[in-house]
């Protein structure tokens, strides 16, 4: 008992917090960490709780994330229940009052964009559906621009001494982003009306932006892994249709895409769903450059 008390007391002393100058940002997904870095530059240290290889639905509230949450001054997540399985638990376990919902240190990107696929009714028999709408908002570059304004606002509020810098960096980013969005929009214009099949219902915002038509999913229900029966049904469904491409993200198993692709001669691709997911997608500009390049190469 005494030994344990001593260990605890010693730990308190050793672990006393060092002072940090930079604003520590914890993003739930890499795209928001990249966005915080765009706006904050050297004034922020942004980390992502997930990597491009990890499905953001299926993360556990593991110790390293609790430690990161404890230190964060700003938490940027997608929201709309994407992180419902782990974010509330992290927030409760970290003992950090500044990042609780409703505080300036808690930002949900989905609050700043128009949600698509909002179900009129929800039932778990429909799979892992999200009552607030499809949470995969980051695949439309116009949404990134909207969230950027909110991130700039928050950083200015939390780090008032550097408010002018955030404003200036945001304006610079917004100008470059606007120009890039126009360029990308022109580049994907010929794809309007093309039909696609996606692994998960994770591309609604991209489809909305480009004008793609989603004709099927490899998952039988959102969140359920592709089954042989469903794939066979999908094969029949897409036969005779002019499907341009089968799309999946880096964290999804390639097998189902390959299966359908080889049987139908439909090309199957990985699209960058976030920063760092494919070579060249080193920042948000790179992510959409890579996305547009892959889309533009689709022949059918």
């Amino acid at each position: 008992m005494k030994a344990l008390s001593f260990v605890i007391a010693t730990a308190f002393v050793i672990l006393a917090a060092p002072a940090h100058a930079a604003v520590e940002v914890l993003a739930c997904e890499p795209e928001w960490a990249a966005l915080a870095t765009e706006i904050g530059g050297a004034l922020v240290v942004a980390e992502s709780a997930t990597t491009p290889q990890q499905d953001p639905h299926y993360i556990q509230a593991r110790p390293s994330l609790i430690a990161k949450m404890r230190r964060a001054a700003l938490v940027i997540c997608t929201g709309a229940d994407l992180e419902v399985g782990w974010l509330p638990l992290l927030l409760r376990q970290a003992g950090n009052g500044a990042v609780q919902p409703g505080q300036p240190g808690n930002l949900n990107a989905a609050d700043y964009v128009e949600m698509l696929d909002k179900p009129s009714s929800v039932d778990r028999s429909l799979g892992d559906v999200h009552p607030y709408g499809n949470p995969h908002i980051q695949t439309d570059p116009r949404n990134i621009g909207k969230v950027a304004a909110a991130v700039a606002d928050r950083l200015a509020m939390l780090d008032g001494a550097n408010a002018a810098t955030y404003k200036q960096r945001y304006e610079d980013f917004a100008k470059r982003w606007q120009a890039a969005v126009e360029r990308w929009t022109t580049a994907v214009a010929p794809l309007k009306g093309k039909q696609i099949v996606t692994h998960h219902k994770g591309w609604a915002y991209l489809e909305n932006w480009v004008g793609l038509v989603e004709v099927g999913n490899l998952e039988p229900k959102p969140g359920l892994p592709p089954s042989a029966a469903h794939l066979a049904e999908l094969l029949n469904q897409v036969k005779g249709k002019e499907v341009a491409v089968i799309v999946r993200s880096t964290y999804e198993d390639a097998k189902a895409s390959e299966w359908l692709g080889t049987r139908t001669q439909i090309p199957y691709v990985v699209l960058p769903h976030t920063v760092g997911s494919v070579p060249g997608a080193n920042d948000l500009f790179g992510m959409f450059d890579a996305m547009v390049k892959t889309l533009a190469e689709i022949k059918r």
């Binding site: 008992m1 344990l4 008390s5 260990v7 605890i8 730990a11 308190f12 672990l15 917090a17 990597t51 290889q53 990890q54 499905d55 639905h57 299926y58 993360i59 556990q60 509230a61 593991r62 110790p63 390293s64 609790i66 430690a67 404890r70 230190r71 229940d81 419902v84 399985g85 782990w86 509330p88 638990l89 409760r92 376990q93 970290a94 003992g95 950090n96 009052g97 609780q100 919902p101 409703g102 505080q103 300036p104 989905a110 609050d111 700043y112 964009v113 128009e114 949600m115 778990r124 892992d128 909207k146 909110a150 606002d153 928050r154 509020m157 969140g223 359920l224 892994p225 964290y251 198993d253």
Partner: protein
């Protein structure tokens, strides 16, 4: 300052966002808490009479024993939780138990927790599962096996939960470090009788953890539970026994999880082990049909389990667990007592489960249970389903 920040936040939300501002009808049920219900039933088959089951060298809680043989319902658990305001969170889990024709409602947990204490501090108060060990704070429906490890059954009656307060601190470091202490009423096993005017047990615990690359994460901990027992009663084959004295338990726990790229959706491995060591000393009051005997009792007992779980394809898992206990008891009593040691109990368990979605699980488990002198072969089939609010992905 804080007020200004809030006002500024409200203003910026008004200016920056408007896409989602819908006029919604204001009704009282917009503030409904998260509600979830766990449905849990099983079929168990034992090669020996479950009434003869005992753990050699251990005095168990009077309700301890194997789950009901045949078809039965486990606890049906109703959980309700929500943020109470910006400073507090509340959680209640009640279980409905059906045994024979008797239905009982039990408060599993019912606590409040602070959300906004400074410096990584947090206070929890009410009735809750103690944070000692790794498995103790985890509700049984989230365990990887149908039953608790033998060491948990022997020394914590499955899990220690009691009424009390907890203070916890998370360090502002890269390595996860969490320190905590609890003061408990001391009503539940291994405490009993709410000694010391109703502050009969206390705990201390330290957890550390982190990641190794993108693929692995781990947590290790040391905990101490000091409990005073006041007439803690126990049943054994020849009668009843009551223990008065102190029970000091130390737990060391470790868990390691691996998944390719850290993406646990498709495949992952988990290795988990805990070691429990207990010293008990006091007096024992044994009542048999023949006589009542009183005497001194000093015991040193320990146990551990090691388990591995492998999700070998999406939705399918398999696991293996080994349990071992050992007791050295010094009982100065004439006649029989529940603490005599016939052998060191051990058990091997294997299980496989299938989860159609995150919300449902079917499990088949086999135990070769050497708790009693004779080996018992046990087969359990179990369903665990949750409806309502999305469950938490605990580490």
């Amino acid at each position: 300052m804080r007020f200004q920040r809030r006002a500024a936040l409200a203003a910026s939300i008004l200016t920056a966002c408007c896409a989602t501002a819908h006029a919604q009808q204001v009704t009282g049920n917009a503030f409904n808490p998260a509600i979830s219900l766990i449905l849990n039933g099983h079929y168990a088959s034992y090669s020996r009479n479950p009434a003869d089951w005992a753990l050699s060298g251990f005095m168990l809680d009077r309700d301890a024993g194997l789950p009901t043989e045949g078809l039965s319902l486990d606890e049906t658990e109703l959980a309700i939780s929500a943020n109470i305001d910006d400073k507090y969170y509340g959680f209640v889990a009640a279980s409905i138990d059906q045994t024979g024709n008797d239905t009982s409602l039990n408060l599993e947990e019912g606590y409040i927790e602070t959300l906004a204490l400074p410096k990584g501090l947090k206070i929890k108060a009410g009735r809750f599962l103690s944070d000692v060990g790794y498995l103790n704070p985890i509700h049984s429906h989230a365990w990887d096996f149908d039953d608790a490890p033998l060491a948990y059954t022997a020394m914590l009656n499955g899990a220690y939960k009691d009424t009390g307060v907890q203070l916890k601190w998370v360090a502002p470091t890269k390595l996860f470090v969490e320190l905590g202490t609890e003061l408990m009423r001391g009503d539940a096993f291994p405490a009993a009788g709410a000694a010391h005017g109703g502050v009969g047990a206390s705990t201390l615990f330290v957890h550390v953890g982190g990641d190794v690359g993108d693929t692995s994460s781990w947590r290790a901990g040391v905990s101490r539970l000091s409990a005073d027992a006041n007439e803690r009663s126990s049943v054994f084959t020849l009668g009843t026994a009551a223990f008065t004295g102190n029970s000091d338990l130390t737990i060391a726990d470790f868990i390691w999880k691996w998944a390719k790229n850290g993406n646990s959706r498709d495949r992952y491995y988990t290795v988990q082990a805990e070691y429990l060591h207990r010293k008990e000393s006091g007096t024992l009051d044994v009542t048999t049909t023949a006589a009542t005997n009183l005497g001194l009792y000093n015991g040193t007992q320990s146990g551990y389990y090691v388990q591995g779980v492998y999700q070998f394809r999406p939705r399918w898992r398999a696991g293996i667990r080994y349990d071992q206990l050992e007791a050295s008891n010094d009982v100065a009593i004439v006649g029989p007592n529940p603490l005599s040691v016939t052998h060191d109990p051990s058990r091997v368990s294997v299980m496989s489960d299938f989860s159609n979605s995150e919300f449902s699980r079917l499990r088949l488990q086999f135990n070769r249970d050497h708790s009693s002198l004779q080996i018992d072969n046990q087969i359990v089939f179990q369903y665990l389903m949750s409806l309502g609010a999305h469950g938490a992905h605990r580490f």
